[in-house]
């Protein structure tokens, strides 16, 4: 029944399966043919589609990328991604800032960035984090897709042991889920902002993670991040910290936004959504909408700054 529903009657306050999310995506595209389209940028290791929603009102625009769920067990991120998609489709033409944004740049949204892992969390192991590709010579399955990027790949803060949660994989971009984004970003050539969304320690981070070196844009990214977390806190008072990855949490090599930054995407960020100290990855579904709402306020700041400072 969920698959047959329109996006108006879709329940945004519960967690959904991969098939339900894909049905939601198709419904959103069908309901908004002049605004939303679906791009399949590749397939996962087990052959599932890597779908990206494209919100666009004109050809050849710069773009702002958002992905959720690269770590499959972080369910609030996929659920927030669904909410963002509906919010964008609903607010275009009504909200002045979002309308201005979409009249100038596209928004690209990958809701289930690690579909094999996500399906596995529903069917076999709720706490699964990695991809589901096998590792030759090991019984342990999967690679951490947030250690698989060609940015300090293989350095500290990632593991060479396939049985660990931060296993980096056999080579940079060895995971099809990662390679698909790499190929898409390169072929697009005009992505100006990039946000990768995780959970659950309430942080807004920017490069670098693999080195202590500051990016040339450190001060600007820091200021934008401060504005974003202030906007986020304005709704429910949720407190976020912000800063570069290595200074704020830990050294992490091979991370997503270090690669995107080094590709020339100046406005590269990573979110860690709610919550600290109570539920971790098992955030109750009644917190999905508040989480998405407050995150959207911060995302809006990041998108607006990118829109107004195209380079």
């Amino acid at each position: 029944t969920e698959n047959a529903r329109s996006t108006d009657s879709f329940n945004y306050a519960t967690y959904h399966t991969f098939d339900e999310i894909n049905a939601f995506i198709d419904n959103l595209v069908n309901e908004n043919p002049n605004l939303v389209s679906k791009i399949q940028i590749g397939s996962s290791y087990e052959g599932r589609p890597l779908n990206v929603l494209k919100f666009s009102t004109g050809p050849n625009r710069p773009a702002f990328w958002i992905d959720t769920g690269i770590h499959s067990r972080e369910w609030v991120t996929q659920a927030s991604g669904i909410w963002f998609a509906k919010k964008i489709a609903t607010d275009y033409g009504k909200d002045a800032s979002l309308t201005n944004t979409l009249n100038n740049i596209d928004i690209l949204l990958e809701i289930v960035t690690n579909p094999d892992g996500y399906v596995y969390t529903h069917k076999s192991d709720r706490m699964w984090r990695k991809t589901r590709s096998p590792n030759s010579g090991s019984l342990c399955v999967g690679t951490d897709p947030n250690r698989n990027w060609d940015a300090g790949f293989g350095g500290p803060g990632s593991s060479s042991n396939p049985c660990t949660e931060t296993y980096r994989g056999r080579a940079a971009h060895s995971e099809p889920e990662v390679k698909a984004i790499v190929d898409f970003v390169k072929s697009h050539g005009n992505i100006k902002g990039f946000v990768s969304i995780h959970s659950y320690s309430q942080m807004l981070l920017f490069p670098y993670g693999y080195t202590t070196a500051r990016t040339p844009d450190h001060n600007e990214l820091n200021t934008v991040s401060r504005n974003a977390v202030n906007a986020l806190a304005s709704l429910y008072g949720t407190s976020y910290t912000y800063g570069s990855i290595i200074a704020t949490i830990y050294q992490a090599s091979g991370g997503t936004i270090d690669w995107t930054y080094n590709q020339g995407i100046k406005y590269s960020y990573s979110f860690e959504l709610r919550d600290t100290g109570r539920y971790g990855f098992a955030l109750p579904a009644n917190q999905i909408i508040p989480t998405a709402e407050e995150t959207w306020l911060a995302l809006t700041k990041l998108i607006e700054h990118t829109r107004d400072n195209l380079y």
Partner: protein, 93 residues
């Protein structure tokens, strides 16, 4: 589905660099099968670990014998996941 009955998530509060390193050392003890929900990073930043029922006592003894403060963040992981599943079923119905 994997069953998480009896598993707990511990929130650890290291007060100095030595304690951070002691918690970090748990990562290398593969037989304990600890799932680091948040990693050991800096002093005063909490570390969350999911521990199987079988290894719970060993880990708690390790922390207590090293005077490392912790609290139980989730008393039974499976009960939270059961509630999550029940809610999904209710919503589908």
């Amino acid at each position: 589905m994997e069953n998480y009955s009896g598993q707990q998530v511990l929130r650890i509060f290291p007060t100095d660099e030595d304690q951070v390193n002691l918690v970090r050392a748990l990562e290398d003890l593969e037989h304990l099968q600890i799932d680091f929900w948040t990693s050991p990073t800096k002093v005063l930043l909490p570390i969350d670990i999911r521990v199987s029922f079988r290894n719970l006592q060993s880990v708690k003894v390790y922390l207590e014998s090293n005077n490392i403060q912790y609290s139980i963040m989730i008393h039974d992981v499976q009960s939270l996941l059961d509630e999550e599943q029940n809610e999904m079923r209710r919503n589908r119905a």
